[in-house]
Symmetry: C5
């Protein structure tokens, strides 16, 4: 469990790491914005104490400690509570839960695993890059959500670049792991969707809520964020449709192949089966078979067989099997 605290106002910014809650809170400055980050919240007691200090509802604490939460945004009397799912490409698209508690002057974030989602924001605060130091805690919360949403696009882009490869593999009928790989791809998409859809809903809800926690100034930013989630959700759906197309192409390729195999078998069989019958006839040992004694019978048999073979070939040509 890692505790860090950042404080900033338009004039300055500082960052500290702490081992205990008391140490952490001792750094806290009444003026300016405070951002407390808790990585891998595996000590429930400490989380609980922190929550109590900021008057956080017990249900929120439960939600923070349970990694199986569905993304949501909830308004409480003293704070706004946001739960997100971050996708981590390095960890096989595992979903990681990130919880944000936003009060008027403080943002507390809980990350399920140590991660670098927020490094860029930390730098922007400390280096006074962009407008962040001039804005409130709500803008910080917006930036944090935005950083998570941006990762979705990184993941979707890398998934999307794999689709073309699938399209090539679809017409290779020998690719036996294709269907399983497609299923894996779809499961990854499902995972992203499970992260994106509820967030989209929650943002829509937040925008229509006349909440004191998100100032009017933030409206265009939230609208932008919402548009991004809509775009991510639509990209997921488009990818699903494209993969359905890949499946169809593959099914058709497999079936075409089967068809050709069957045709070759049929053509070879149908030509040789009658011929083999004929040579069988003249292999019989009956004592009285007049044909056997005729001197031109053998070449005549060959002629007959050639005729039959040619007839078959013409039949196949006519039916356009060859």
């Amino acid at each position: 469990m890692n505790l860090s605290i950042i404080g900033y106002d338009p004039i300055g910014a500082w960052m500290k790491k702490a081992d205990t809650l008391d140490e952490l809170l001792s750094y806290r400055n009444s003026a300016g914005i405070t951002w407390i980050n808790v990585e891998s919240p595996d000590r429930p007691a400490l989380v609980q104490s922190l929550a109590e200090f900021f008057r956080v509802h017990p249900l929120t604490v439960e939600d923070i400690l349970d990694p199986g939460q569905r993304p949501k945004i909830e308004e409480f009397d003293d704070y706004l509570f946001i739960t997100l799912k971050a996708v981590c490409p390095s960890a096989g698209l595992e979903l990681e839960q990130i919880s944000i508690v936003l009060t008027m002057d403080t943002v507390i974030t809980f990350q399920e695993r140590p991660g670098d989602y927020f490094d860029g924001i930390r730098k922007r605060i400390l280096n006074n890059a962009g407008r962040i130091r001039r804005m409130g805690a709500d803008y910080l919360a917006y930036l944090l959500i935005d950083a998570v949403v941006d990762k979705y696009f990184t993941v979707l882009d890398s998934l999307g670049s794999g689709i073309e490869e699938f399209e090539d593999r679809a017409i290779d009928e020998k690719d036996e792991t294709l269907i399983q790989d497609i299923q894996k791809f779809k499961q990854d998409l499902l995972r992203v969707r499970r992260a994106v859809w509820p967030l989209r809903e929650s943002l829509s809800f937040l925008m229509h809520l006349d909440s004191p926690w998100m100032g009017e100034e933030l409206e265009p930013f939230l609208k932008d964020l919402y548009d991004h989630t809509v775009q991510a959700a639509e990209t997921v759906e488009t990818y699903r449709e494209l993969m359905a197309g890949v499946m169809e192409v593959n099914l058709s390729a497999v079936s075409n192949r089967m068809n050709k195999v069957m045709k070759v078998l049929t053509i070879i069989s149908t030509i040789f089966i009658p011929l083999t019958f004929i040579v069988g006839v003249y292999g019989m040992n009956f004592r009285f078979m007049p044909e056997l004694e005729i001197s031109w019978a053998y070449p005549a048999a060959w002629g007959l067989m050639t005729l039959i073979a040619l007839g078959m070939l013409i039949f196949f040509k006519r039916r356009r099997w060859m």
Copy 2:
């Protein structure tokens, strides 16, 4: 039919079992919260008397006695009526109906079968664990619904852990009961869905209702409960999608297998059918077959046949059938 009654207030709590309605009501205490639990309500007359005592509408009594009810929450003048479906993993995922009548100071529960869904809550009341003794009857009702919803997750987790096994079985084409097992799995999901969906709707309706039966204090708890039902419903849908993927993988595996069988058949047939024809030709008994007299004819025939077989093999290689 089992009757039990629990009474509690912030100071104390007691529990009694009763055989008759009169005995039951004699235990009732005007102060504090009363919880009456009726297991296997198979004596309609007794249920009716109990209902009349608490001024419950005849339609509600009908609903309690009919085990085929759809989950719903209905507001009446004197009480709030809640019907739920509990899933019982021990009984092959059979749905069990649980009805709750909530008045200001009394909660009456009807369980279709004796069960242990509420044992934990009983203990928390009697041992004064958590906040329950300090809260109203509405909080007890919330806890009861929450206990039922928690069981859904137990069931879903155990179903979910079976999906990976299905994924392994999908590529084993000899698994002939796979499809039937998948259908059984889907029917279990359908059952959970039939329990979850109407409950989700009802909770959404309850939250938007400005009902006196659920105090303002309960709002975050109801929201939490609602989120859980949404999560359960989404899990069901995700499982359905995963199973659809399992089906696709299996279909593709079966078809691939068939393809291979066909190819082997075709390759063997197509190589040997012309060879068998040739040996047939030289098995004919015509008197005048010049080839038969030539001393190097037999090895030449072998040579011809080897050439044909090689030609075929090259043909298959080129078409990438081997």
Copy 3:
């Protein structure tokens, strides 16, 4: 065309049959509730006169006379008009149209065919069973709709009990009429759905309408009725999903069977085709075939063929085809 009239108030009840409209109306009593039932309304003129007497809109008369109406509930100035579809199990699930005109003190029902849907209600009126004699005309209308909705469940139960049989038939690949029977089942479901869905909508509309024709007292009854239609609609959808499962199981069973047939063919062919070639070789009549003269050649040939057959069997075992 059959005309009957029932009159009742809390004190008494009577029932008469009539042949003409005048006779019918002569029985009408100003006090109490009047219920006029018209079976097989095949004489438009009489229906028109009856309608004019109760100031029914010409469009309503058209709807009553046209058996192809979609279930609906319409409010007019002088009455509430309800059209339903009843399902009649005895008549191959044919849909029968039932129209109800509800004024303050009169209920007029039109049944497309003579039927026994309402016999139970007649008895309850005449025998003063339940609360019916104490309630208004709106309660009678509710009871009539409820009787029709109850029949849906009878039909659905009998359909539902057939599903298990379908599940057994699905794994019997020789059952050639299965698919057609499933289609017939689905068409029956479609029929029930066509009766239930519009009724559900209409009831929802009626409940949100602040109509004078349905008193406040009736609210819980309408809610209950609505819940029943929702339940019927959901049952239809569940059955459809189960039948889709039956189809999948059947498709898979058929395909498995085909697979096995193909495998047997392939195994037999692939073992014997090379052997037949070998015996063919030694059936050739070349004068110079050294093997033929060797005394141990015949057993050696048998040995070779046994080896080939064993090799094939091992190949199949390895590929897990046997």
Copy 4:
């Protein structure tokens, strides 16, 4: 381009045909209702002049002249504009555009092609049949739309009567044009749907609009019209489901047939392949084959072969392939 004008009031009615706009307008009577009908509006200039005379918006003129409009109802300051798609069974279900401009006392209709949709209404006006002469221009507009909607049912009935034939054809596996005919049927349904759905929406919009162009008196008529479009839309969906069923039955029939063909092939092959091997063995020309000399060897060979054939048959019986 055909111009005709009808004028009527409760007392009388007249109809004239005109060649020019001036002639047409000269017939116009200030009192009563005027209905101007324009067939095949292929002279944009004339349509434009007519439109200007009645102060019709340029966008409306564009819509009238462009036959590719989607059905819609639009309210303008001076009139209500309605565009419909009529289906013409005689012209291979081609969609024809009909536009209606409704002012307080005038209805102007534009028909893409000369047609007889409105002949019945003309007769009712001239013969004073029904209530039409006593009603306003809005009732005339309603009748015109109703005439178009009635045609949908004519078309749907004729389509519906073809479904049973499809059901019979589905089990005939030799019917090679079935799928294409089904597609043609579906395209016809698509066409009707494209006519019906937007009209349904527009009518719903019109009913909720508090428009001065459609009087209160017309409300039940509009509701009735709306119900008809809903019914037509539902019929289309039902037909689609039935056709999906036909496809499933056909797929299953084709697959069953294939299955049987394969089985016959397999049974014949599997019985004779081993027998042919055996006769091949005793056709070999080895000098030392002791069996050949035994006097009872030939009948013994027959016996062996009979045993093998019987064994195979029993094997197939057991597997229920025969």
Copy 5:
């Protein structure tokens, strides 16, 4: 990067090209409407300066510079921001982003690539064609969007004309690229849909917004524009359904073909396999085979074989395989 500026009022109009922002703005005239067009906005700094000049929000600038935006319409304090996707048939249906900033008297457009979408509008302004010079900046914005939407129909028409060709190809089972071409077609449709759907939503949102940026006068034009997007969206869906039909026809054609191939194979095999067995029997070299010595045995064998072949043919005829 290309800059051009057009100014107009009811009396006159002029157009200039510029290389720098200062030059561009120097042309700007306070009176009348100004339209600034920026082609290929690849110099962010210049775009930023331009944006600052017109007090455009930084988020809007980001959206303009990022070509991956989803179509949307956003209202800001000082302007209305519109992002569109144009489809360019000449560039393989690539989507091109077009952004429009609309203030009271100025329209700024940003085109991702140089294109001729707006040439017609430029000519109408400079030649004073239609009403454009008499209308405000909002009408210009409408015309610009309309020009983009019109292109969708050009693209859809050219796609639609390809469907018939697909229908012909569907019944040609040798067409191996069909499925891939269908997928390409579907991807094109997806692209158009991704351009149309969000625009439709945004226009619906714009129409219900009481925005100062779009005057009341523009209402029928926006309604018309909205109807066009709805029509484009429906056309996309119709094409998708038609292509699904093409797929079904093709699947059925391929399966029919396979069926026929199998039948020919089966018929030939089943006739000749027993005959070949018989000739094999009389090719055996047993010393004691009485039949071989009979003088009429050879013709009798032919007779037997003819009988068997005829029997088979009758069997196939009966089963309707021929």
